[in-house]
Subunit: 425 residues, 2 copies
């Protein structure tokens, strides 16, 4: 794809040699991890295509939108309300992270003991290899964890257009007030950026597009309750990852179309792995493209992943936004209510998350839960310990894993995962 | 001191054998680090006595206060307003931390990669060796960093009486509103605990006692501008540490009395180290008793510490509370204003801190700044990188150190400190 898009990447200021190297690694990783899978649904062809064009055709589309006057907004977090962005005819995209890049340079800006996700986001910027970041008219940071909130202070000097959104730490009356003020402030900023005044019809349309996207991915999730599982965890994760990048209407159609196929598979008792394959629920830190290492280890070790309790997964997509309001104020309240339910570990306390993990483990008939944490991600690593104890009390087998994006220690990880799968068989 | 207080410690539920071992280590550390210093002011005798009785006589006093109906409130942070506590005739004490204790047990509750301060607080609880914690009628946690806020969720199950205070992350209108709500809620909780209604006179008295304590420690700080420095950094740190434990009125008198002595020393050009000894400002994470390792390394390597930009130091004691208000509401506003100025690294952005570091470096005629960070303390470690760059731009020599409470790697630390001192000589 390199040749077709060279001029575009050059105009975005990418480091072409580094970017080619990245695409090579990405392509090879995709080949080895995704295309090597057996019994994939045909509908995954769409997602294979999207991934093969993730820095190509999709960026071309964004550039065309920009040429037509639409704005592109980049985000690092599920707390940035896509409803508001779409209401202003703008496009929201997830920003690159999920692989180590330019780490030596990154460590001039961030302590080595920073989580891989944050270091990766800086690496993509410093290495000049993220066309999403470079094409964004606004980059939204959010005060979630200490790592991110302090990192944005530095990122502010590396990009032109960082907008920082404050977030509450407690789900109190004051916490909700803060989210309300911040979402209205964000709405104003998006209106200013786009030159479009968000009215009831526009906001309603934004809500409906995002709700439909959520309904589709939820439909996909629900189909994974079947045994044999009709789709691999890797492929379902990919759909959840592309949720953040793709055109939302097209994405919704594509997910619904794969769901039609999976329903037939289920009728025919056809799966990606044999019936009674041990079933795993993953819970914890988000897995951004191309962070496929850990699910790949699991699914090449004799188990199938049946759910992701993660921001790239049900934590991010759970809950629709109520669309019954008839004024901007009412619809904004619904947006705020919807996001205030997200059970991110930055909240204290965060009891809903344990409830959701148990509920998902039951719904998806998981034989065990793996608590996936990125090293130095304090909120999830700290929450993992009481969650582990609580799951053990409920006799749900649980394995706690701390890892990063490196390919070191894969053997050790695989050994631990295999032992866990042996245990829950 | 053991024998005299054995019954008291037993009644508090301390593990006597472990506690004896702790006191032994503490006593030996104090001997080697504090009493081994030369040219100490006579007034330090008071602080030597306080430290020798820190788990003895001071706890006896607290027990006597409790017997007389006063309440004891324990805190881990300078954001807990002592003014409000004193206004309800209660006593605020800093809770134990500053040394590794029961670490194996701690790591059943907290990830290994948690900062030493938090692990230490848990260690003192799990090891049953902190009489302050055990005698407190209320323990106040605060949502400062991710590490602490998530740790309190677990601490809640280990203690009977944890009260958690939320804090803002941004110094915005909403941030101040949150602090206001939380301080009024704290006032209500303290009133309920003590059975005392806080009126104007009471709050004013609380403000005056704390202001006087701050003025005294500020007077001590100002005297360290002299060359030769009239008091060691270790001894000044000790006064700043005892600030959190001692009876505030007696503490104020004792600090003022040592200041009288230091003024005479300055007149006579008498110091703890020779004139032109390289002068260091320490900035960063707080040093709780008995975390004296790093200042001891500095002051046995040919330099003198002339200031602490730290919560146990000027960050915690800077700024008085305006006492001109004539109603509880006005005085509460003054309390909120005062604490909202604290430039802790949990705030984003936190530009005031850099200003204060530069100001202190100039005021105390520091030859260099050491940015002291506890490993895995994300807010201070992350902020240290831009602060380091900014100080370098201003041609202020700076050394960035990440460490913990262990006595390993002391040789390496000393080598780095010596090289820095050589550089700034």
């Amino acid at each position: 794809m390199s040749e077709n898009y060279k001029n575009m990447w050059e105009s975005l200021g990418l480091d072409l040699a580094a970017h080619d190297a990245l695409l090579d690694i990405l392509g090879k990783g995709y080949q080895d991890i995704y295309l090597a899978q057996k019994n994939r649904p045909q509908g995954m062809g769409y997602f294979d295509f999207v991934m093969s064009e993730v820095h190509g055709l999709r960026i071309k589309e964004l550039m065309d939108e920009k040429a037509a006057g639409r704005k592109v907004i980049g985000s690092f977090c599920v707390f940035v309300p896509e409803e508001i962005v779409l209401a202003a005819d703008a496009t929201l995209v997830g920003l690159c992270s999920g692989a180590d890049f330019a780490m030596e340079e990154v460590e001039n800006y961030l302590p080595r003991n920073t989580c891989a996700l944050i270091k990766s986001a800086f690496g993509f910027k410093l290495g000049k290899v993220c066309p999403y970041l470079e094409s964004a008219d606004m980059i939204v940071g959010e005060n979630t964890c200490d790592g991110k909130k302090k990192a944005y202070e530095t990122l502010k000097n590396l990009v032109q257009n960082l907008y920082v959104m404050d977030l509450p730490q407690v789900k109190s009356t004051e916490g909700r007030s803060l989210l309300k003020v911040e979402y209205w402030r964000f709405k104003d900023a998006v209106e200013k950026l786009s030159g479009i005044k968000i009215d009831t019809q526009r906001l309603l349309k934004g809500i409906e597009i995002v709700n439909n996207k959520r309904k589709a991915i939820y439909r996909l999730s629900a189909l994974r309750k079947a045994d044999p599982a009709p789709v691999s965890g890797l492929d379902a994760l990919l759909a959840n990852q592309i949720f953040f990048y793709d055109n939302p209407v097209r994405f919704t159609e594509s997910v619904n179309s794969i769901c039609d196929e999976l329903e037939k598979r289920i009728q025919n008792r056809k799966g990606v792995f044999p019936e009674k394959t041990p079933r795993i629920l993953i819970s914890g830190c988000p897995m951004a493209v191309p962070n496929w290492k850990f699910p790949w280890i699991i699914e090449t070790s004799g188990a199938v992943i049946v759910g992701e309790e993660s921001c790239v997964g049900e934590r991010g997509t759970r809950n629709l936004t109520d669309s019954t309001g008839s004024t901007v104020e009412e619809l904004m309240e619904a947006v705020i209510d919807r996001y205030f339910k997200v059970d991110c570990a930055i909240f204290t306390p965060n009891p809903d998350r344990l409830g959701h993990i148990v509920e998902m483990a039951e719904d998806y008939k998981a034989d065990g839960v793996i608590l996936y944490g990125l090293q130095f991600c304090q909120p999830y690593l700290m929450e993992a310990m009481p969650v582990e104890k609580a799951l053990e009390k409920k006799n749900i087998p649980v394995l706690r894993i701390d890892t990063d994006y490196s390919m070191e220690y894969i053997g050790q990880l695989k050994t631990r995962v295999e032992a866990f799968i042996e245990l829950i068989k």
